[in-house]
Amino acid sequence: MAVQYLAANRFGLGRRFDDPAIGDPKAWLIRQLGDYDPAPAALAGLAGRAAIATAYVEYREDRQAMRRAATETPMSEEEKGMDPELRRLSRSAIRRHYVEASAARLAAAIATPTPFPERLVHFWANHFAVSADKQTVIGFVGHYENEAIRPNIMGKFADLLIAAVKHPAMLLYLDQAQSFGPDSPVATRMRNRGNRQSPGLNENLAREILELHTLGVRTGYTQADVTAFAKALTGLTVAGLGRGAGQRLMPADAEPGATVFIAPLHEPGAQTVLSRRYDAAGAAQAEAILRDLAVHPATASHIATKLARHFTADDPPAALVDRLTADFVKSGGDLTSLYRALIASPEPWVAAPTMFKSPWDWTVSMLRALKVPALGEKQNVAAMFTQLGQPVWRPGSPAGYDDKVATWAGSAGLMQRVELASRIAGRIGDRVDARQLAPLVLADALTPQTAEAIARADSPGQGIAMLFASPIFLRR
């Protein structure tokens, strides 16, 4: 079997042109678990929470001002002309964080000497998906991956879960920031004042944690569990963004974009989730539930299945899923232990590369292989992945991108890849010899047919395009 290729592409992100030989594939992967750097240089200099939150608030205020101006006073011709331009500019202020973070994500993936953990970062960011569809979320998505996901992928699943849930991107994306305990002091006070539009509970985050992040869909939890969990989560919100009742209660020293717990928004009293009673008051209540969910056997099986699928096939072998589940349960959700069990398992190594690389995986592996810059200075990375069919951090649903062959193996998508490979090959021309690159990149998966097709290419550029469009290179 093509173990070298599998190590580099199924586990890693494709071989870099200057990578030393992998040698023993399993030892190579294990070593990366220790070498992993959660804050690689490529990500330095990205905007922090406060800057991101402030950019959003400015954007919203600009928009409000324009709306008010439009309704209250008739616009002059000049103002009418300015409106879309102003709007565009403010939009670009919040989008800039997204565009910069997307480019940095790609740069980090291309440069990383630990491609297996880097793949795991992408895996977990997609598992705990937030989507840049919401204006409030756009600026935060990169920060979310870098601050909530990256530092926690080698520890306990519970810590990763809690970090993801508490990040402003998740709180805003799944509406937690606007969820109020129905009998919280604030809601009660507003009701007593006769405020008919008093804020209430939003179950979105609680439901998705149960369905997508931990137990998995149809694993036996009930609507009562969802409601109780949602009540326990109340009080958790984001500073400096929201409007209305909550904002007056923000601690004075809270920076914009900080995750805060506001006790007067929290639903008082004990909650019962999955037949267990949680008496703790305040923020500790939700945290206790999250910690229990994180080690639940259903969570173990859910995570094991997704991880096994990512490293084998659409329908992962039951033996692998069972082994990973058992490891997860035994270790209390220790992720490094889980990765070791995965590496040591025979199943990811026995089959030919059958998974179809996502546009992200394919592009990253292509760019890693090339020693010369393949993208133009002004290339908008975010736009490139949108064109390839996988916008960065924008899966459009809290379920994240589906992880199956059929998700990415489409005819238009295939043509898009060939066109990109062709364009990149055109830029590179004869500065790279595909005949020499092919054995390095395709390693033990290089077939005589592909080698011959590349060798018979009518130009060095065409050879490069053939290599990256070859059936093997499209897979992992």
Binding site: L414, E419, R423, A453, R456, G461, M466, A469
Partner: protein, 373 residues
């Protein structure tokens, strides 16, 4: 994609200037000769383009498709031009069009890929040469007539050689050139996942980028572009224009009608756009091989051997004529019992036309363009 500085100039500033001052451009050009090679990728059906309606076996072989050419211009007692080619019919009447029938390259198998390689490279076997016949022709031309450009994302084999050649790809042309597409088709042929995906991707691509699309207007646009690149005083003198979509295995009647209308409008736009320079132009239209005499079960025709080549231009000496050593379409007269038998080499047709056009020694042209024959 190779985009030389020269082709950028051609595509931008100079074209704009020429558009503004066409008279100046005509006056400045000291009537140098011009050549356009239009390649029909995919094996165009010569038997439908220039139909041998006078052959007694034609109607029986083509069955329901025999009247595909009904209403087309009668070229002589034997041949009828496809009705979609009205402009070309007019050129024929004015002795500015010539059709060479039952012609083929030395290639006798039926792979597009190999066949195109032979047609462009001009070698005696597929992949026998890394340069092309147009590229070698450039070495025979005076410096003023040597500026060559391909309307393609990359320099096609036919234009490759020792002389630097530009390319110009309008954005609506696909980025992935048809040669790469063909090679990937071969590479994906045995892949159960990629083969059908790619098939469907390529079909969509052809629809988007073909000359036959948009009721022939795509062809007219391409012709207009070609003329604008050739018209300026310092414009291109030799050009290759890529056309695809000729592989009519099914539904030939409608598809070929659209393709030929597109080709006809391409030629018309070239003539209109070049103005007086049309009389200095030779257009060669050729395909890698022809299609079967018999219609297949899906209203189309399959890969064959001999086909038709077209010579067009204002200064054509052999215009208003169909040349053919006609082999006949009866089953016994066919190649392998299925194809129109080639009775003349396409290479010799091209070499002779080029030699006449540039007033070059025919022997020297033949050995330069086709050194392996």
């Amino acid at each position: 994609m190779m985009l030389s500085r020269r082709s950028i100039i051609l595509s931008g500033i100079t074209v704009a200037a020429a558009g503004a001052l066409p008279g100046f451009a005509y006056a400045a050009a000291a009537t140098p000769k011009r050549l356009v090679f239009i390649i029909q990728r995919g094996a165009a059906d010569g038997l439908a383009t220039v139909a041998p309606t006078g052959d007694p076996a034609f109607a029986a072989a083509r069955r329901a498709m025999a009247d595909e050419t009904a209403g087309g211009a009668k070229l002589d007692a034997m041949f009828t031009l496809h009705p979609a080619m009205a402009t070309t019919a007019g050129l024929y009447t004015g002795k500015q069009a010539h059709f060479a029938h039952a012609v083929a390259t030395a290639y006798r198998d039926r792979s597009h890929f190999d066949g195109q390689n032979m047609l462009e490279g001009g070698g005696s076997r597929p992949y026998g040469r890394s340069d092309g016949w147009v590229g070698r022709l450039l070495t025979l031309l005076p410096a003023a007539e040597r500026d060559a450009i391909a309307i393609a994302p990359a320099v096609p084999l036919a234009l490759r050689g020792t002389v630097q050649v530009g390319t110009y790809a309008p954005s609506r042309l696909p980025q992935a050139d048809s040669d790469l597409i063909a090679r990937l088709s071969a590479l994906y042929a045995d892949d159960p996942l990629l083969h059908p995906l790619w098939d469907s991707a390529v079909k969509t691509q052809e629809l988007a980028g073909d000359i036959g699309g948009n009721n022939g207007r795509n062809g007219a646009d391409l012709g207009k572009l070609a003329a604008s690149l050739m018209l300026p005083a310092d414009g291109a003198r030799v050009m290759m224009v890529e056309t695809g979509g000729w592989d009519t295995h099914s539904g030939q009647r409608g598809r070929l009608n659209a393709q030929l209308r597109g080709l006809d409008q391409l030629v018309g736009a070239l003539q209109t756009g070049l103005g007086p320079a049309w009389s200095d132009l030779l257009v060669i239209v050729a395909t890698e091989f022809g299609r079967t005499v018999e219609v297949n079960g899906t209203g189309g025709t399959d890969h064959g051997t001999a086909s038709t080549a077209m010579l067009l231009g204002g200064g054509l000496t052999e215009g208003g004529k169909v040349s053919a050593d006609w082999p006949g379409l009866a089953p016994a007269a066919r190649l392998d019992g299925r194809d129109l038998k080639p009775t003349r080499s396409l290479e010799s047709v091209i070499a002779a036309a080029v030699a006449r056009h540039y007033a070059l020694d025919p022997k020297r042209v033949m050995t330069t363009l086709y050194p392996d024959t």
